[in-house]
C-alpha cells in the first residue's frame, strides 16, 4: 500500500500562521489531512490476479463438516448454551445386535475355544494375542452382560470396569479426566465417553485418520 504522496497544502506549516489565519483555514487544513488519512485507510491492496489455483483453496467449515463426518462430534451441539446433565452416550453396539439374548437365548452355550464360523465372523480379535477369546469378557450364560475376572456381571454401560482390570493406569487417568475426552463444562457437567467409543474392544488400536488439509502457504495467500 503506497502512502499518499500529495503533500498537504503550504498553509499547514505552522510558521505560516499569521494573525490573518482564521478558523476556516485551520479547518480546511484538518479537512485535507483527514482526507489523506482516510484515503490511506480505505485504499485496499490492488486485486491480486493469477493466484496459483490449486494451493489457494481455502477449506471452510462447510467442507469441514463433510470431511469430519459425524463420528467425532458424537451428537455434540456446539451451539447449545444449556448447562444440563450430560449422559454418557450408549455403548456403541453394532446395529441390531443387542440384546444378545435374542439369538443366544435359544442356543446351547458352548465353551470350547474355536474359530466362529456361523456368526460374528466379521469380528477379528486383535486384542492381546492368541490367548484372548470371547468368554474372557462376555458371560457364558448371560450374553447381555459382561463378566469381570472375579465373576461379577456388569452391564455394557459399565464396560470401563472390565477394561480397567488390565489397563489400570489408563482407567485411573480416565477417571481423573486425563485419558480420553470430556466435553461440556470445565467447571460443571461433563460428558464422558466409554473406552469402547474410541477403541473397538475387539481391535482397540486407534485407527489412523486422514488429516484435514494443510494451511495455505503464505506465498499462495491472495485476496
Amino acid at each position: 500500500m503506497s502512502e499518499p504522496t500529495t503533500a498537504p497544502t503550504p498553509e499547514n506549516n505552522e510558521h505560516m500562521l499569521p494573525e490573518a489565519t482564521t478558523l476556516a483555514v485551520l479547518l480546511i487544513l484538518f479537512f485535507a489531512i483527514g482526507i489523506l488519512a482516510l484515503a490511506s485507510i480505505m485504499m485496499g491492496r490492488p486485486e491480486a490476479e493469477g493466484a496459483a489455483a490449486d494451493a489457494a483453496v481455502a477449506h471452510g467449515p462447510a467442507e469441514f463438516e463433510s470431511i469430519l463426518g459425524e463420528d467425532f462430534t458424537l451428537g455434540l451441539d456446539t451451539a447449545s448454551k444449556e448447562r444440563g446433565h450430560f449422559a454418557v452416550p450408549p455403548p456403541p453396539f453394532s446395529k441390531g445386535i443387542y440384546p444378545c439374548s435374542e439369538c443366544h437365548g435359544d442356543l446351547e452355550p458352548d465353551d470350547t475355544r474355536r474359530k466362529l464360523e456361523d456368526e460374528h465372523q466379521e469380528i477379528k480379535l486383535e486384542h492381546g494375542g492368541e490367548e484372548r477369546w470371547c468368554l474372557d469378557c462376555h458371560d457364558f450364560k448371560n450374553r447381555d452382560k459382561l463378566r469381570l475376572a472375579n465373576g461379577t456381571l456388569i452391564p455394557f454401560e459399565e464396560s470401563y470396569r472390565l477394561c480397567g482390570q488390565c489397563h489400570g493406569d489408563k482407567y485411573r487417568d480416565w477417571r481423573a479426566g486425563v485419558h480420553g475426552k470430556r466435553t461440556g463444562y470445565w467447571n460443571g457437567a461433563k460428558r464422558y465417553l466409554l473406552c469402547a467409543h474410541c477403541h473397538s474392544p475387539h481391535s482397540p488400536k486407534f485407527k489412523p485418520l486422514h488429516p484435514l488439509p494443510p494451511p495455505i502457504k503464505p506465498q499462495y495467500i491472495r485476496k
Partner: protein, 323 residues
C-alpha cells in the same frame, strides 16, 4: 511516509488529523472560540469526512476509547453498535458479549503429545468457532510435524505435512497456538496498549484499538499472532453468532488476532472448541487455581514441559506425556 523535502512539515502536523493544534494556536483563534470547541469542531469535521467519503468507519467507531477505559454506558453503546453492524452483515442476530473474568480463575491448557495424531481437526474447529477469515486464510492453531528421532526440535518442524493417513510411524505432532504467557512479550511491546492480560490469564486484543503495527507479532516467540492482511472473508452462513468483544467477534482488515482459549466459551464455563473436537482427547483445559482440576492433576502426575521455558515467558499452555 516520505515527505517531499521542499515542503517541510513540522512534527505537530505529521501525526494526522487528531493532533492538537500547535502551541500558541489559541492566540490565533477568533475570539469566543475556546481550544476545546476548536478540537471538537475539528473532530466532527473529520467524522463528516469519513461519512462523505463512504468509509464504513463511522463517527463513534472513529472516536471510540480503549475497551478498558469505556464507562459501562459507553460499553453498552459500543456493543449495541457492533451487534447491529455484525447482524446486518451476517443476516442473522449476532450477539457480542463482554462477560468478565470469573473470580478465582486462572486458565491453563494441557496438550498430550503422546496422544495427538496430527489430524488438524482442532485447527478447523477453531476457525469455525472463532470467525477467522477463510480467505485470506487465517488459522490460530498450527500443527507441527516433528521427527520422533529428533524430539522437540522446532528447526525440523513441518506444518504442511499431508500424508494419506496420520499418525505416521516415525513422526509426532505438536499443535501450537497462543500460550497465554504470564509474562507476555506481546503485551510489553504494544505501543498503544491494544493488547493486555486479563485477570483470568487470557491475553486479549481490542481490535478497535489495534493500529496494525505488528510489533506484537515480532515479539511473540511462538508465532501465535495473525494479521488481517486483507479484508477478512467470512461467508455469512458460517458466522458463529455467539461472540465476545475481546474474542471471536468479526475482525477487520489491518488488525492482529490470536487464540483466546475461546474466551466466549470458557468464561461461561464451557470447554474451548479444540478440546471438544479433538478425536483422541489430547487436549485438556481447566482452572489452575483448582487443585482438583484436570490440568492440575496432569501437572502433578505427568511429565510436563512448556515451550521455550528458558526465555521466561511463563506460558500457561503445558505440553505433557500421559504415557
Amino acid at each position: 511516509m516520505s515527505m517531499t523535502p521542499d515542503l517541510p512539515c513540522s512534527g505537530s502536523c505529521a501525526g494526522g488529523g487528531v493532533a492538537p493544534p500547535p502551541p500558541g494556536a489559541d492566540a490565533d483563534l477568533p475570539a469566543g472560540v475556546s481550544r476545546r470547541e476548536f478540537v471538537e469542531a475539528s473532530a466532527k469535521m473529520l467524522a463528516a469526512v469519513a461519512l462523505v467519503s463512504g468509509c464504513d468507519t463511522n463517527v463513534e467507531e472513529f472516536l471510540q476509547k480503549n475497551f478498558r477505559e469505556l464507562t459501562p454506558e459507553e460499553l453498552r453503546q459500543v456493543v449495541a453498535r457492533l451487534e447491529k453492524k455484525y447482524s446486518e452483515a451476517a443476516g442473522k442476530p449476532v450477539t457480542v458479549t463482554t462477560t468478565p473474568p470469573l473470580p478465582n480463575t486462572l486458565f491453563g491448557y494441557g496438550l498430550d503429545l503422546s496422544r495427538c495424531v496430527g489430524c488438524r481437526r482442532c485447527a478447523y474447529a477453531c476457525a469455525r468457532e472463532n470467525n477467522t477469515s477463510r480467505s485470506p486464510q487465517i488459522q490460530w492453531i498450527r500443527v507441527l510435524e516433528l521427527d520422533k528421532e529428533k524430539g522437540v526440535d522446532l528447526t525440523h518442524a513441518n506444518a504442511y505435512y499431508n500424508p494419506e493417513t496420520v499418525p505416521q510411524e516415525d513422526k509426532f505432532y505438536m499443535p501450537v497456538a497462543c500460550h497465554q504467557c504470564a509474562k507476555p512479550p506481546c503485551v510489553k511491546v504494544c505501543p498503544v496498549k491494544a493488547t493486555w492480560q486479563e485477570p483470568d490469564g487470557i491475553v486479549v486484543i481490542d481490535y478497535n484499538w489495534c493500529i496494525g503495527c505488528r510489533c506484537c507479532m515480532a515479539a511473540c516467540p511462538y508465532g501465535a499472532r495473525r494479521f488481517n492482511w486483507g479484508e477478512p472473508d467470512l461467508p455469512a452462513a458460517e458466522v458463529n453468532p455467539h461472540t465476545h468483544y475481546l474474542g471471536n467477534r468479526p475482525r477487520m482488515k489491518g488488525v492482529v488476532e490470536k487464540c483466546t482459549f475461546c474466551i466466549q466459551r470458557v468464561r461461561e464455563g464451557r470447554y474451548p472448541a479444540c478440546v471438544e473436537i479433538c478425536p483422541v482427547g489430547a487436549r485438556k483445559f481447566g482452572n489452575l487455581l483448582d487443585p482438583e482440576s484436570e490440568i492440575r492433576v496432569i501437572m502433578r502426575q505427568k511429565r510436563v514441559f512448556v515451550l521455550k521455558e528458558e526465555i521466561g515467558t511463563e506460558p500457561k499452555f503445558f505440553y505433557f506425556y500421559a504415557t
